[in-house]
């Protein structure tokens, strides 16, 4: 076979393939949406569009847009990333790359409260593993998971730079130093009480 036929051959296959498999984006539809029912999904979409709309089409605002979506929805759904990519005319992979690079972003739904247990060296020797076990037991989840009522997400970090206060647990940006097993209970209770109060207020 000479190179000419080879070329035609591959072109033929290429065209054939184009016809056979029109890119079906719908089968990559986000799994969260399926579970959540279409109403929440529509609501989410609207909020995402509102946020993206605020920023115009400047590429530099990528991280700010993602941050806003993250704090509004507690995660970055697939449709949001697609909207952002088309609005800022960036390749989707670039948006996805940024979203997976920073720990502040999450592609999975996260709870309202983020519980961060430090497992750095200093905290470790001061008993962080026991604290983590206690938090796991109380919330009934493993690190990286979210409680079913979408209230708490448990995560671990390696050193927050406040080793003198170890073992440290950070909840929603508030540092709770010198954690003891009993204190875990107190702190978590406190937060639950606060959210309940907020809810009744509303």
């Amino acid at each position: 076979m000479n190179s000419q036929t080879l070329y035609h051959y591959s072109l033929y296959y290429w065209v054939k393939q184009l016809h056979q498999s029109p890119l079906d984006v719908s089968n990559s539809l986000c799994w969260e949406g399926v579970e959540k029912g279409s109403q929440t999904l529509d609501n989410e979409r609207e909020r995402v569009e509102a946020i993206v709309g605020e920023y115009g089409a400047s590429r530099d605002s990528l991280i700010s847009v993602l941050q806003d979506i993250q704090s509004a929805l507690h995660y970055l759904p697939e449709h949001a990333l697609r909207t952002v990519a088309s609005q800022l005319s960036l390749p989707l992979i670039q948006v996805y790359g940024v979203a997976t690079f920073f720990k502040a972003f999450s592609l999975k739904p996260r709870g309202e409260h983020i519980v961060n247990v430090c497992l750095g060296t200093a905290c470790h020797v001061r008993g962080a593993p026991a604290v983590l076990d206690e938090v796991k037991r109380r919330l009934g989840i493993e690190p990286g998971e979210t409680t079913e009522d979408m209230k708490f997400t448990l995560e671990t970090v390696n050193c927050l730079g406040a080793c003198a206060l170890g073992p440290i647990v950070v909840i929603d940006g508030n540092y709770h130093g010198q954690m003891l097993l009993g204190k875990v209970k107190k702190v978590l209770r406190e937060i639950e009480r606060r959210t309940q109060r907020d809810e009744t207020h509303e």
């Binding site: 076979m1 051959y9 890119l23 990559s28 992979i93």
Partner: protein, 221 residues
Amino acid sequence: MVELTIDGIKTKVLEGTTVLEAAKEMGIVIPTLCYHPGLSPYGACRVCIVEVVKGNRSSLEASCTLPAEQAQVILTNSDKVRKTRKVIVELLLASCPNSKTLQDMAANMGINKVRFKIKDRGCILCGLCVRYCNEQMKSGGIGFVGRGTSRRVATAFDVTPEECRNCGGCEWICPVCERACTAGNLIDGLCGGCQNLVPVETCPICTGCSESVGPHGHKVY
């Protein structure tokens, strides 16, 4: 024009030229992995390191991203360079033991044993495929995902991107020749090379010489 000394030979190059290009012009070979003349320099693999001498001291720098400067003194093959380069290739080899390119490079440098724990990751994160997709194909279908030890080359949401034209460039340019092929877990596969091409001819007594056979490769025996 700037004048610099590479391996004791004086040369003049245009401003903005990298040391690697200057050396290449003079016929001095510096091994590279993540450098490609058609793509922007990236400086990921560090195989191209050279010694930059400043008075009594010297530093090691990646020549592919190092701009040539006036009165710079460069050594491309000193003991220090060779020793360090060997360790770098050894490390790369530990993460991609099956790469022919890396194996050849190691053999040339006289490495016959890898002292590090071998963890086959199938990718050295050189970024060639990503830059090829971006800069040559103007597509931007693949990129780096995650960070740190979980950094990898992938497509968004691990599905074939709409931008992908199945050019197969990512496969072609990869010095490790395996990672970009994600046909196993993508809906259509990324490069599609295997779907586009007619079956590869082999000699009836194929010895696995890894040369391509047919129109541009060797004769079918």
